[in-house]
Amino acid sequence: MKRINGKIIARKILAKDIFLISIELEEEFGNFGPGNFIMLGINDFENILPRPFSIYHAENKNIRLIIKTVGSVTGKLLKCSLPYEVSVLGPLGNSFPLIKGNNLIISGGIGIVPLFDLVNRINVECFFAGFRTKEEIFLVENINKISKIYLSTDDGSFGHKGFITDYLEDYLIKNRDRDFNIFACGPHPFLKKLWDIGKRLGVSSIFASFETYMACGFGVCLGCTVETPKGFVKVCKDGPVFNLNDIFGE
């Protein structure tokens, strides 16, 4: 974990409200695992707290993030004039376990970012990517080169129509005799649905990356806590990747 100053030197729009930023750092970032994240700080009195973002790509003194505009800081990152000074703290949190087996990946919307790099590190049988609508689709063309991919939009404007969790469910039912590991990231209701499906069909493990509000990102503020059947856990330090059983199980 290091704190490094840097500046955003390039920005590219990838889809509706979604863009990639490239940050030039003063020092090398170092190694990271799939699922690790950083805290990105901007020098702005209005938004004093840094924000968590998954690492899309990092090499030498460059780090790239993919961001969806949802509020104040993500709005400023979209509009600021470049170069724009930022700070990067990381790598933080745990990462997806690199395990063998029948591995499936499923993402909802921006949740595709922390899962992207996993395709390069483990054998993946199939990648399920869900989006709300055609204009919000990004990154999938890059994944297509490496792995089999299922694409859906809620409104059917591209790929299959409907929820991606339904397609995953079909796949699991067709392959009921086989055991799978599932890797996931998406909104909370999406993960809950996934847990229900996994439980019903007896999937052995579902690893998912969670989102919460954070202040520090490295376990000292106790602000990112979520409640689980086993007690409170810190998303920044115990996670962000959890076995869904530890979050939703009894």
Partner: protein, 301 residues
């Protein structure tokens, strides 16, 4: 430059230390600098038994600050003793912040904490509700403060700092009461009660509805509280609230704070305390003034 400051019965190597609850139990920050260089380490508030804290969400950002309602989650005094062992070799003072849910619990924690050799200073957080007296905050009631600090004073020999809540109508009355009851120094101040609403869902952003506000937006408020306390008591005052850079730290020292605590800024930049030490050195040599001359040098006429 000599940055050491005398706080009555203890001398710190420089005036910079973290504020409780923003620095973990210390070791979490070892990756960002040499902990022994800090004026002191102030640990997360400790109670007799482990405390789970409040339900999430516990934090939200507001313009220029943040609101937290962690609910004083902590590992309890026995686990804390284990964590202290890891700080054994540090060459700096260790300040332990503590609280209780009842009068008796405050006394038990104080007694136990002061028996740990590595604990140099006890910092009592009085911004807690007294469960036995209808939940009134200890820190807002002069009678309760007088009894509580007086009793803690009787059972411990180590330096006792009292951390005041600013959520009172006249903080100087509280400061004077704490001094009379035996405090060795005052920390001014804790967070300001506040709330924030998410307009899309029309719900409070914090599950507990309200919390304590900290960060740069509260600096002018705490600065004024320090100014008033410095004038009303003769024991040292430690400034706390919204310090994010050297100029805000200097303001506190100029109004008379003998040392300062830095909280929320540790989340913005975990290296801030080390940066402040360098920056103070730079400032004093540039201005050709000693730290002792600077402290309390406010000109009002």
């Amino acid at each position: 430059m000599d940055l050491s400051v005398n706080l009555g019965n203890i001398t710190l190597k420089n005036p910079f230390m973290p504020a409780s609850g923003t620095f973990g139990y210390g070791l979490e920050f070892a990756e960002f600098g040499d902990l022994s260089q800090l004026g002191a380490i102030v640990t997360k508030g400790i109670s007799l038994n482990p405390k789970k804290g409040n339900k999430p969400p516990r934090i939200c950002e507001v313009k220029g600050g943040m609101i937290n309602s962690i609910g004083l989650e902590n590992v309890g005094i026995d686990n804390f003793q284990e964590k202290l062992k890891k700080l054994e070799d540090l060459n700096t003072s260790i300040v332990c912040n503590f609280f209780g849910n009842t009068f008796d619990e405050y006394i038990s924690v104080a007694e136990k904490l002061s028996s740990f050799r590595r604990v140099d200073v006890l910092e009592v957080n009085i911004s807690c509700p007294n469960v036995k007296e209808g939940g009134i905050c200890f820190g807002t009631d002069e009678r309760m403060i007088s009894e509580l600090i007086g009793e803690i004073r009787k059972v411990i020999k180590k330096p006792l700092w009292v951390k005041l809540t600013p959520n009172v109508s006249d903080i100087t009355k509280i400061a004077i009461t704490a001094e009379k009851a035996g405090a060795d120094a005052l920390v001014v101040a804790n967070t300001y009660t506040a709330m924030s609403v998410d307009i899309a869902s029309r719900r409070p952003k914090i599950k507990n509805i309200y919390g304590g506000m900290s960060g740069p937006a509260i600096k002018p408020l705490s600065l004024y509280n320090v100014f008033r306390c410095v004038k009303s008591v003769s024991i040292p005052v430690i400034g706390c609230g919204g310090i994010t850079d050297i100029s805000s730290a200097l303001e506190f020292l100029i109004v008379g704070a003998r040392a300062v605590q830095v909280g929320t800024a540790n989340f913005i930049n975990p290296k801030i305390l080390w940066n402040l030490i360098d920056d103070l050195n730079g400032y004093l040599s540039r201005e050709k003034i000693s730290l002792m001359e600077l402290i309390g040098s406010l000109i009002t006429e």
